[in-house]
Assembly symmetry: D2
Homo-oligomer: 368 residues x 4
């Protein structure tokens, strides 16, 4: 079915395969009058681009975005914004081997069983390049949210067993190491861990954390459209995610009410705030004014250089060696994808929230 | 906005508050010709009913369901099924105190900020009684899935620090202890832990696990409608959930590709299967034929008998004592809610999947 | 599938059959803080109630509505509003004859073919009583729109060949004759026509017109969510509708650009307005500030007292006589249904429109 | 909001402006395994291309479609199909005059009021070129439907006052005259009428009729997702449509039950059929097995060469002369747009229908 569309009012539809003509996204429901140019989007795409470090695939792709519609005289018009990134790297490599079997940890088998066959070139639609459309659209969502005073701090919390040290958290570090960690020493240790993985023809996973500051209170809707539920879906729709947490997450299950409840208090301006933030910024499915804190567990890259056991399309058991270079870890490049998906969720929740109260609706139309 | 509807083709809409006239659900998109009676649904509601053990609120509610539409001569007709549970316990208790302040860990503050006021009687719409509609609809989803060979095993994995012992897993135990644990000794230890919490005027959380067996391969859709993404949303839409995992979840972030990849092999019937199941039954967002394994972290009940610090509606800091008896843990009663939400997600994914291939569509209409 | 839900932000879900336990609707996405009581809704239901005149079925139904959720202390809370009308008239009449064949002009045959069987008691879900949920929800939509300065004038334009005379249009007449015509003489002529139809064991159709005044400019969205497209769907989803027009409708096809174009001009206050209104208040799918004028063609009641030819479930050709009394015309009772569906469409379009401009979004959240 | 997406399971999203970089559509939810090439789509686009006759704008556009994704080895893969038509004709004509005022009959005023400004080059998003995405997607829908035995006959019923003569209906004529009329003599008379309009610096409208044959019975869903309601929305979402009918349409309002009811009978094969087809192939919102007959009223082209009165952005009344050549009638080019929108509606309804019965669902998954 139609699984490539996300959002209710701020709605995006992505398309494209790893080795097809290109990849893109249509953003529909972006408010009119937002200043937007290709550089706004390119900046985000560059954060996920391959070939930036020793730990990402050396495939050289410019990943240059073009705006095909929806922007006129430098501003969004309210009509759909179509963005495209053409693939430069479509050389007709021989894919006959990879086409013949099911790679462990990949979607080869499930694609074949669902659709009868698959575009096997570089993973086709299930390639990590599918996230280009998400990141391009997310750049616009972040730009809107920044105008509303909402900001994102997203980084690698851990690679394999190596976590950053909360006592050493330094946001300025995030963009100063190839792993996007907020702690130089942890980044150095994680790099060493990754070198060892690579030497062992192995790969690593990790955890990404995202902090969203400046949220108004009451965003999200009770029951099925809770803000945390929509964030969970958004983040879990990213290829390699296997776990998701808000606030204390799985630790909350071990806590007690006395320690887990966040007391309310008044801040120096006399405004209500929470004294602690075990809840991670969401109560009853709605933002509570504290920072939203979310976390995603990312599995190790399934493509490894070691020999693996699997089954081929002729239904025979075989041992395979996947050729070519692959990212030993996708966590650093996925940081911006997590940020993009979180931003897309929040901008949609903000727009949907505008008719929550009759008095606000009346004021809105009285002022028109 | 409209946050009380869930699903695309098998769509449910819930309504009702804790101390209003009643609670209910409309199930739209249920196939015609399913045998259905009130007992099918009551059985599920009884699993979440209060007053069943020492560890749940003694509020006595029959929670008796009535079918108001959509069933004729014992079978579903294809038109919407309206289910209602009237509240028996609407006595006009004095809620003026609870109405005046914001309980820590509850949605009082966020509801007030979003909507301007709230139905403060027993939590109103944010009460755990909101799940009655989910469970009633989930009973129908499970009945459909059972007909298709898909079954659920759902249980309490842990209460606070007490986990079941996987070596002692015994599914027959689940319905033999008040905590729905698959391990009698763990249930006994968890009970002792809960007694201690109660003596300390405190509360506990825990983890619920759900295993879904018999899935066809290829259910779920790539990109945003991945089966795990929709399960994440479904489970995270339950009130107290703070974390969600599929398969190895957060452990996968620490694993390496060599250990985390599940090799494919042929079983004794010559069918393809995975040798291990770190993936938890989903690859690339689609079911892979192995059991789907999911986990939800549930926070401790926020209503505790101890004194707590908060702010009142007059924006003054105060200390409060919440009166009345409350569940010291909601995990056992939430087990059936997790199962219901998982079932609702899967039945919808199965229906949506039916047009995935042109040859299947053609066969379907040629046979009509 | 799930065909009983309508709307994006202001979303309604109806349920119920003619001779089941009752009929109802859940309204989700109604803003909080709207004063609402059962009388607000009952007033609309009374406009479609049977037994009000010589020309409607004498079935006596109180059609008394109850609010089961979503209203607290006299105001909407922002959570779903559940409304129910219990059926008083469920006597177990013998339906075996009607169950055995397919009535011409009814949905018996299509229901049986789609679902395998049907609730044949009084038409089941395809009965005109299905509109109770629409009208109840529409009453709330109209109440919201009135607060925003938007009003409805809906009436019978014609019954069979008898049209009202535009030169004699008198809105105060609408509620003074059983046919809801804005012209006493036309109402009298139409009554005579209906008497003749009844004497001949025949039935009549007609045209309903709805005028919506006070619309802000720019409501509706280009391309697929045009305001007129959504009105067309809303009105065409009413059982007996066979045609729909906006403004000059089918006459526009015969006009030329010179006569059909509406010139813009300035009114006495210096505001832009259209000099004429061939467009019926919508340009490019968005409201243009003029009255929205829409029209629905309603077919003659298919249940007639004369003998008819048809096929039975045993696939034999037979002649039938449908017993019982039926409305010789449903147009007058459908007037309020048309108004309800138009109001539901417009309130949803207004809510969706609130994020159309970046500056409005920013003002909204800056003021929060 | 997001107004550029249409459909539930077979979902399309269009984008692009008249004088932007290009126009396109993403089709998501197309079943895998459909043979598809650019020629399949080009054939449909050629039917709406400008410059084909004396009666369409001489703007020369190749309107050549490219498939950017979703097709591999000649077949659809089940992933989104991205189609693009680049604009050849983007020359920077001076639009300063047209930008300064509101053209009567166009969306200039409503766009400006909704969004604050507009892309005024050639109408921007409200240009007839917006339909390129609809037609390209519709070509795929028609290809699918043909495989299921469903066919379309779509043509111009009338231009201004000149209608085809039903007694002379000849489907082979449709593609033999520039007006797509099924009657050579009527086409000749209509051409003469258009010549007169052009000589008078005026424009014409008309009516398009579409006949859909081979429908299975029971497609469409009761209440809000009736097949006729969705067709009404689909057709009314086309720019210049002002009226829509199914079967006898507005004539049904003047008929009586005796004449309007279609008797059921058995055909020579013993299958149930309707003896007449006043209903236009739909009963109770579901297809009844007869041909579906629908009709759209198209208003005269608003761009005319004559002087017109209007208001400019400085809010002054002015007289304008719109320069450039425009289609004196858009009806012939809209024929394929009507067919495309009808096909998109029906293919979606067929996919949604697949889970209507429990026994069909069970058979489907048992056979997997």
């Amino acid at each position: 079915m139609a699984g490539s569309t996300f959002g209710t009012i701020f709605k995006i539809t992505t398309w494209g395969e790893s080795h097809g003509a290109g990849l893109g996204v249509v953003i529909d429901g972006c408010p009119a009058g937002l200043y937007l140019c290709e550089e706004d989007i390119q900046e985000f795409l560059n954060r996920r681009k391959p070939g930036q470090s020793h730990f990402s695939t050396p495939r050289k792709e410019g990943d240059t975005v073009q705006i095909l519609s929806g922007v006129f005289e430098g501003k969004t018009t309210g009509t759909p914004i179509s963005l495209v990134v053409y693939n430069e790297n479509q050389r007709s490599k021989d894919y006959s081997e990879i086409a013949s079997y099911f790679r462990p940890g990949h979607a080869d088998y499930t694609f074949d069983m669902k659709y009868g066959f698959r575009d096997y070139r570089g993973g086709g639609r299930s390639s990590g390049r599918e996230t280009i459309g998400r990141v391009a659209a997310g750049a616009i969502a972040v730009k809107i949210l920044n105008l509303l005073g909402i900001t994102f701090t997203t980084y690698t919390k851990s690679i394999g067993p190596v976590s950053y040290n909360p006592a050493c958290f330094d946001a300025t570090q995030i963009f100063q190491n190839a792993l996007y960690m907020p702690d130089a020493e942890a980044a150095s240790n994680a790099s060493a861990y990754l070198e060892a993985c690579m030497a062992d023809h192995d790969s690593a996973g990790g955890v990404i954390e995202c902090i969203i500051s400046g949220m108004p209170v009451g965003i999200g809707d009770p029951v099925f459209e809770k803000l945390d539920a929509n964030l969970a879906k958004a983040i879990f729709s990213i290829g390699a995610v296997k776990g998701f947490e808000i606030g204390d997450g799985f630790e909350a299950a071990k806590a007690t009410g006395k320690t887990n409840n966040d007391a309310f208090r008044l801040n120096e301006l006399g405004h209500i705030e929470k004294a602690t933030n075990h809840a991670g910024g969401i109560l009853g499915g709605m933002s509570d004014g504290s920072d939203i804190i979310l976390r995603a567990s990312i599995k190790p890259t399934p493509s490894i250089a070691s020999s693996q056991h699997t089954v081929n399309k002729a239904e025979e058991e075989i041992d395979i060696n996947i050729h070519g270079r692959h990212d030993p870890v996708i966590v650093p490049r996925a940081v911006v994808v997590v940020e993009a998906m979180a931003a897309l969720t929040i901008v949609d929740a903000l727009f949907v929230n505008m008719s929550a109260r009759m008095d606000s609706v009346k004021s809105f139309y009285d002022e028109l």
